[in-house]
């Protein structure tokens, strides 16, 4: 079997198992109140980490400062102006594209 198919199958099975683990292991058992309260704070914690890693992450780890940061700033301005989500995303993409065009 080729390396491509092995990676597709192994990564696919592993990802499915990771995604299903919580719902299967905790099946309808309500977590204790403190754990539940912590899990309710998972979304802001992870989303903030995703903003940071997606805006600053390099291909092989570490930091890379590039046009993404200008795009993120434009998206933040759009958010402050209460723009709809599609406008926020587009503002970020267009700004980064323009910065790359000029730079």
């Amino acid at each position: 079997m080729s390396a491509v198919w092995i990676s597709v199958i192994v990564v696919g099975l592993a990802t499915m198992a990771i995604k299903a683990a919580g719902p299967l292991l905790l099946a309808r058992r309500t977590p204790p109140p403190r754990a539940q309260a912590a899990l309710e704070h998972l979304a802001p914690a992870l989303l903030a980490a995703l903003v940071v890693t997606q805006a600053l992450g390099g291909d092989n780890g570490g930091f890379t400062i590039d046009a993404r940061l200008a795009g993120l700033a434009a998206g933040a301005v759009a958010l402050l102006l209460r723009a709809p989500l599609l406008v926020v995303i587009t503002a970020a993409a267009v700004t980064a594209a323009l910065v790359r065009l000029v730079a």
Partner: protein, 230 residues
Amino acid sequence: MRRPADFQAREPGRTTYLDGVRAAAPIGVAALAFGVSFGVLARAADMGRVAPVVMSVTTFAGSAQFAVASILGAGGGLVTAIVAAILLNLRYGPIGLSAATTFEGPWWRRALTAQLIVDESWAIAQRDDGRLDRHLLIGAGLLLLVCWTTGTVIGTFAGDLVADPESLGLDAAFPALFLALLWSQVRDRSRLLAAIAGAAIALALMPFTGPGIPIVAASLACLVGARKPA
């Protein structure tokens, strides 16, 4: 905190799958474009036409799939590619825990619907009471799966016609998207604290670990919420 128009509070239990589809529609556009660029990258990495599409349906996680395609394309080892992808998807462990009580039915149905969890569908499904809305999660997840897979098909078959995704600024769309999703989450002090702690953990680890680890580690920041009684 004020929320973007797309994220007006919904009454729990009053949602439909279609609400999830609607809420995810703007993200669907980005997922489609991102899917095209994955297809193009996979084609350039000699992954063929079928394998990338199978991967988009089964793995259904953008950054991990990009990692596999770029590592294999650069002549990196099979094990390196697999490990990198799994590290990037480890965050779905804690995410799955937070969604554990969301799904219904027999074990195979819960396992199957759990596959529709991606960062974006999970973020959209967050309810004001801290639980997850099953209808929003499934509706949003299905739309994103369709967009992501369709994009992959377009990219692998018509990739030559598509411009370089970086020149279109597509890589800047996602941090802004996550910022918008975060924005709708930070509605009290303890959630703001969790966000700051999550970003700080990720920033602190990024110079020292490969991609993926900083995000999983940042999930520990949710513990700031454990002090608050439910």
